[in-house]
Symmetry: C2
Subunit: 556 residues, 2 copies
């Protein structure tokens, strides 16, 4: 058995090591056109920021280690030029010598990754414009920063890499602007959940140009670059980072006519096998099934890539291990904030017409009686039919990714919001609460499904025709409230209940939703048709800061 | 409907509030013999340590809030003296006035909690000996520390409260000793997992007297107390904290002949109903089903108490909500270490003859290439039949309770080690790794179940009759190794394979188990019958530090 693996990062390296663990006899050759094998891609922004000091820390394994430990031959700076499926051979070019040679294979694994998107805009090849995908890329950026004494930078694209780069570049005192085509950063999140990230970035001096498309770049005399946008902005800076996203590397696969999916990735089955039974493909280059929606997706994540590598190796040796699909669990640190998510977002559920219900909450990351509890902004999406969890998003300073991990684990088992209610999690005052944020999320959702406390949402109501009941204190009400809302503080509900309209739907809100919940229960037990505006005023502001037009003008 | 609830902390308070949310008509009376309702029990050690400054921070709710918000009447410093089940009345004594009166009920909920165990030892009632269960308890300890200028303290009992008290008392520079009857601290953990806690406590100047039983106390002239042990120790100190454990408060229940279980708690069904259909019981006073073993257990935990309170309220109003049982998920911070667990421990599985397999691992809490990755000591227990997760224990400085929470969530869904393998968790270099510790745990366990890499354990092998293969470097081997172990560094395995005995079982070990795994795969692919000693030398030391006799003398 001779296995050739194309691409030595994450998926490819995992596949190679796993293959060796399954067979001592197999000949395994790992080919990479770059100068490194198995490096820590996700560490690159932190290497640029000098948080990770040494380049060698990024090297997960070396060719020597592969040879000595696993008897795997690694050929760096070798590029597979084409694949002959009939002959089961690959043509390889040694980039150091220019030599072209042919290797036969019994099994071929494609793990070429994805390449940063560089749209064909005027001036995009100018000096000072960088992408970040490899160690040499980050080395070039570091060098540019030092040589040019970079004082300002424009980051094009406000996704995960863009925001991580913002944090890291800010460590050098660089003045930062982010241009993002969408009206929010971190597009995998729903816009209202990105709202606090926007203010946080601004509080760190990062200027945000959202909903702006870059139209071109101009190199200036002083080696600075001017970025131009559709909206007519001209932003001059010493450095431009392009972090618009990545595109599956499918050139090789296309040339040998392997099936390519609608999303532009290599199409594979659950054993990571391509349309050719002797060729497997893994990692950022392939399309995977979305675990929630069933859609084909391309999601460049290291964890799934590693798992796919092992599944492919298993499959090569006749094992029936299958890949479960991708939930899209991810986390991003943005200065002091942590943003994490798993499963589907509302945008996609809407687009796919998948029925969903949602809940917002803002619990403390640990018990309120212990110092320094920090709120976590949470949003849970679930099936109105059976309560199955469809997705979760969270943003806050501490304990954020922990809650998403717990929910991710439950999603994997088709868990429901009833499971969130019952989850028995670690509680000591530093770490959580007797009712953990995860439990509270489950309770709110389950209360809605049981019709105990039906929810309403600021972005789904007709502001002109509903009866708003504000159950906060009169002080809170005076400071700011929704137009035409009637104020009855929660503790006065019972004595004032006769003042409320029996024939109307009553939309109750408070600060974050808790008092609203108590009020809704009291009202419903008294025969009123009451709904709790999920997340109260805090959700309201997340929507209005997001510029939700229907919500914008109703404050008084 | 008139509901009387006896005991206003956690379970009782939750039940009262939930009952109100289910009915506006019900009359709800919450009776507590103490001066506070619904206080944060779990915060008391931190209030003693002045980490929580204000006593009022511990008060989750006040009688006024219960009245105004929930229309619930709270009667503090009132004690239920007895229950007349025939008449459905309780006799109540007002402790402030001495008045005794009778209240009828339709539903009675017992949430009396548990009381600290105070064995009838000579001198146990001396001044300067304290338990910690209530706000007044903690106030007394604080006062004693100040008044007596306490310089030294003995903590009797090394459980959760004992260790939390050690950390908090140390904040005042108090010299600490812990006496524990078992040979380990934190008895819910298995002994080898407590090993690192022992050295950590010692490094903070806490002296540990393990396996020592206290026989009595002597009050000295200078107001200090001498604690005497069975082993003949006499320990003089200014303060003694008794944290031996708690015992369900079942006096009332017993007196009215409610069924009491073998563990001494009130017996309830899954709706928290006692043997009397009009009486429910919740919280630390009841026995619950162990979610894993099915045993009846008494576990004083706030989270389950809260859930039970809600289940009882649901049941009173005819809802069929049931309590799922207790997994025993818990966490304890001990200076810089965090110790967390969920599910069954090995001691209990053994005692109950439940078949299990186990795995040890010591992964970093985040990616190794990012600065300051701290190891987490992990142990996972699982079913050898189907891989169902039976329990997990973890000790480390960071990211500890997160991993236990994820596993706790999977246990709740009868998850398996195969689910741990596949879990898709948050990964950015600050938060985890492409292969999260949870994934690695699953892989190791699943590799054993699939017979790809069978595991062996230091406490289960016959040291005299096995062939040990040490696959660490020759430098590591020279420094210290298991007696008679043969050293072939991992990277030299293939070239030296002929030196190994084909007829024997080969027990492979390395530093923490990873190199051992690679070696085992290479050996098994070559037809050898090899086993990986789980957790390598690090597990070996956890056992030997624990004084495991069969392991003790084999180092050379």
């Amino acid at each position: 058995m001779k296995i050739i693996i194309v691409g030595g990062v994450a998926g490819g390296a995992s596949c190679a090591a796993r293959a060796r663990r399954l067979s001592e006899e197999a000949e395994i050759i790992l080919i990479d056109r770059g100068p490194y094998v198995s490096f820590a891609n996700c560490g690159l922004p932190y290497y640029v920021g000098d948080v990770i000091h040494e380049e060698e820390n990024l090297l997960v394994a070396t060719p020597e280690l592969f040879k000595n430990r696993f008897n795997i031959e690694v050929r760096l700076e070798n590029e597979v030029a084409n694949i002959s499926r009939d002959k089961k051979t690959v043509e390889i070019k040694d980039l150091k010598t220019g030599r072209v040679y042919v290797e036969p294979y019994d099994a071929l694994v494609l793990s070429p990754g994805a390449s940063p998107i560089k749209p064909p805009l005027p001036g995009i090849e100018s000096e000072g414009i960088f992408v970040l995908r490899t160690i040499p890329d980050s080395r070039k950026i570091k060098q540019w920063i030092t040589e040019k004494k970079v004082k300002s930078a424009v980051i094009v694209g406000g996704g995960f890499i863009g925001l991580e780069m913002a944090e890291n570049l800010s460590l050098f005192g660089i003045q930062l602007s982010i241009i993002e085509m969408q009206t929010q950063v971190l597009p995998p999140f729903d816009p209202e959940m990105a709202s606090s990230l926007h203010s946080h970035l601004k509080s760190h001096g990062v200027s945000l140009c959202l909903g702006e498309a870059v139209t071109g770049f101009e190199k200036n005399q002083d080696s600075s670059i001017t970025v131009m946008t559709k909206g007519g902005l001209k932003m001059k800076s010493d450095l431009v980072i392009l972090s618009i996203g990545v595109r599956p590397e499918v050139k090789l696969a296309k040339e040998c006519a392997l099936e390519i999916g609608q999303r532009g990735g290599i199409r594979v089955n659950e054993h990571m096998q391509t349309s050719d039974a002797h060729i497997w493909a893994v990692g950022d280059a392939v399309e995977s099934r979305d675990f929630i929606t069933g859609e084909w997706i391309t999601v460049p994540l290291a964890g799934p890539a590693n798992r796919q590598g092992r599944v492919a190796a298993d499959s090569i040796f006749g094992r029936t291990t299958h890949f479960r699909g991708i939930q899209g669990t991810a986390v991003c640190k943005v200065f002091e904030l942590i943003a994490a998510l798993t499963g589907a977002n509302e945008k996609n559920l809407k687009r796919l017409n998948i029925p969903y219900q949602k809940v917002y909450l803002y619990p403390g990351h640990h018990a309120g009686y212990y110092p320094n509890a920090k709120p976590i902004d949470m949003k849970i999406l679930f099936s109105p039919k059976d309560g199955r969890i469809l997705g979760a998003q969270a943003v806050g300073e501490e304990g954020v990714e922990k809650r998403i991990d717990v929910i991710a684990a439950l999603i994997q088992k088709n868990g429901t919001v009833y499971d969130l209610e019952e989850a028995e999690l670690c509680y000591a005052p530093q770490f959580g609460a007797a009712k953990d944020p995860v439990n509270i999320a489950g309770m709110l959702a389950a209360n809605a499904l049981r019709n105990d406390a039906p929810l309403a949402h600021w972005d789904q109501i007709d502001f002109k025709n509903v009866f708003f009941l504000d159950v906060r204190s009169s002080e809170e009400y005076s400071a700011e409230h929704v137009e035409n809302a009637v104020n009855i503080p929660l503790d006065k509900i019972r004595e004032n209940i006769s003042a409320l309209p029996r024939e109307k739907e009553i939309y109750v809100y408070c600060g974050v939703g808790q008092r609203g919940y108590y009020a809704v229960r009291a009202l419903r037990c008294n025969g009123f048709n009451a709904f709790n505006l999920s997340g109260g005023m805090k959700s309201y502001k997340a929507f209005t800061n997001q510029g939700l037009p229907t919500v914008k003008k109703v404050m008084q």
